[in-house]
Symmetry: C2
Subunit: 328 residues, 2 copies
Amino acid sequence: MSGTDSEFDLIRRYFAEPAAAATAAEGLRLGIGDDAALLAVRPGYELVVAVDTLVEGTHFFPDHPPASLGHKALAANLSDLAAMGAEPLGALLSLVLPGVDHAWLKGFSQGFLALAGEAGVPLVGGDTNRGPLAISVTVLGEVPAGQALRRGGARPGDRLVVSGALGGAAAGLAHETHRRTRGEAPADSGNTACARLFWPPARLGVGRALRNRARAAIDISDGLLADLGHLCAASGCGARVEWPQVPLDPLLEGMAEPEARACALAGGEDYELLFALPSDEPLDLLAFSVDAPLTVIGEMTEGDEVTIVDARGARLEPGRAGHDHFAG
Amino acid sequence: MSGTDSEFDLIRRYFAEPAAAATAAEGLRLGIGDDAALLAVRPGYELVVAVDTLVEGTHFFPDHPPASLGHKALAANLSDLAAMGAEPLGALLSLVLPGVDHAWLKGFSQGFLALAGEAGVPLVGGDTNRGPLAISVTVLGEVPAGQALRRGGARPGDRLVVSGALGGAAAGLAHETHRRTRGEAPADSGNTACARLFWPPARLGVGRALRNRARAAIDISDGLLADLGHLCAASGCGARVEWPQVPLDPLLEGMAEPEARACALAGGEDYELLFALPSDEPLDLLAFSVDAPLTVIGEMTEGDEVTIVDARGARLEPGRAGHDHFAG
């Protein structure tokens, strides 16, 4: 703890100056340093906004690599924008810090700002406060009026499609937990077994391509089955998932099938998009225009049940669905 | 801790349903329950956004009345919108909770939603997570393009004006601290000595009236002198404050002068507006159109110094300026 580092200095040193040095974003009118930020939303567009918070001990281990945390905190929020089909406009960061750890702040800000630069989302505001470590990010985006993707809207007969591959984040978490029980050193940010856990994607390009094509969409943050449950509930229908079609992360190779199934169906934090595509909407055209694989994993059904079936159509047990920090 | 209360249930039960029952806000297109919220910003307006976080132990005592906390968390953010001259569009709430305390949640949500209803700001999104108590609010607003009030822009010769009265929050905090050292029961939400500390205003009407009139504005969250310092630094000028003109909160009556001066000049959380008004802009017309007293307390000056003077023009010691959670 240095007595010379004020809240204002911290934001300026680690975030405002590097952010200002990056190319100015089109919609940004006034960034960090006033009572609030000013942004322009394009005429004919609606504003999209989401918030997500990561808490030490609940969402990550105390020794989680700081650059990965900066990346993840922003990626989780950009993933919500992607699930709405939105373009990012800006982000706000609220950091609660137990003290001033310059190495941690340097790593965290580099991870955060690297993804911000890549996704073209300026950091427009934020605050820092003293307390137990927690990271809250608010993202702002815009979407052509009336074209936002929602969770409701899927209909029986729609194909159920997922981007990328699933289970990698859960596999990484299992690896990390195992290491810790053996008393080994924590993984560094380059650990390949934790690649998906540490560096989740934000499928903004996929979300954009889904506008006017998908009937409903959600991002997979709580686990495929939990998030599919939300999509089904909002759409008033059920779904059938064909387990052999579910694209598995390479990190699941060599894993026993029940364990792989738990990772891919019930593991959280993969941040892929799950969406319902009308049966007459060509998938190959869509797949051609995005930078992630798209895989049909099942179909929306009548009723309100979500079932998982094997190659012969026999029902499989889902395993534990998603995670909920307040459930028993 | 109840095993049946999930994150989703908490938001729905305490926030989403009461919020939905309130009159629908004009700009709201999609509220709580999807990956993100959708809002419309009026054509010709810019988006205004700010975030502020309250942490237990740093910003409030563990036994702080929950209804006041709900009010304060939103008021502190609306105050930032007011300082920009903005109209509120919506708010997002991120709660980190050590467990599910229904009495606390009921009180907190009532305080939050009462102010939200009064100010016409719908709760459009949020999340809850488990961890040490922290409350992060993001507010969204809109302001006619080019008319936002900023901290920079004041010029030497401008009158320095403040809304309402100062020092009440600091007096309440002193009262609370004193009670605790005597081992007395914590103040309830109706405690008159803590009225300003517990129920700060959000001067949205004043901020709106200042558009195209004030040259610079800031809200007083860190203390008059600290926030005046920010305004001076952004404007590239200094200021002279005439101590006898500073409007004092009635809670300061009977206090020794040095103590009253410390509360009014260096105490934080009064959430009044401080602004620079050109000398040819009539104050009486402006005062007539707002619902809080406006008082000229000094003048912007050449240079970069902030001075406080007594009735004879002699310099006074400012006392300790503002609070900064990371300063020594």
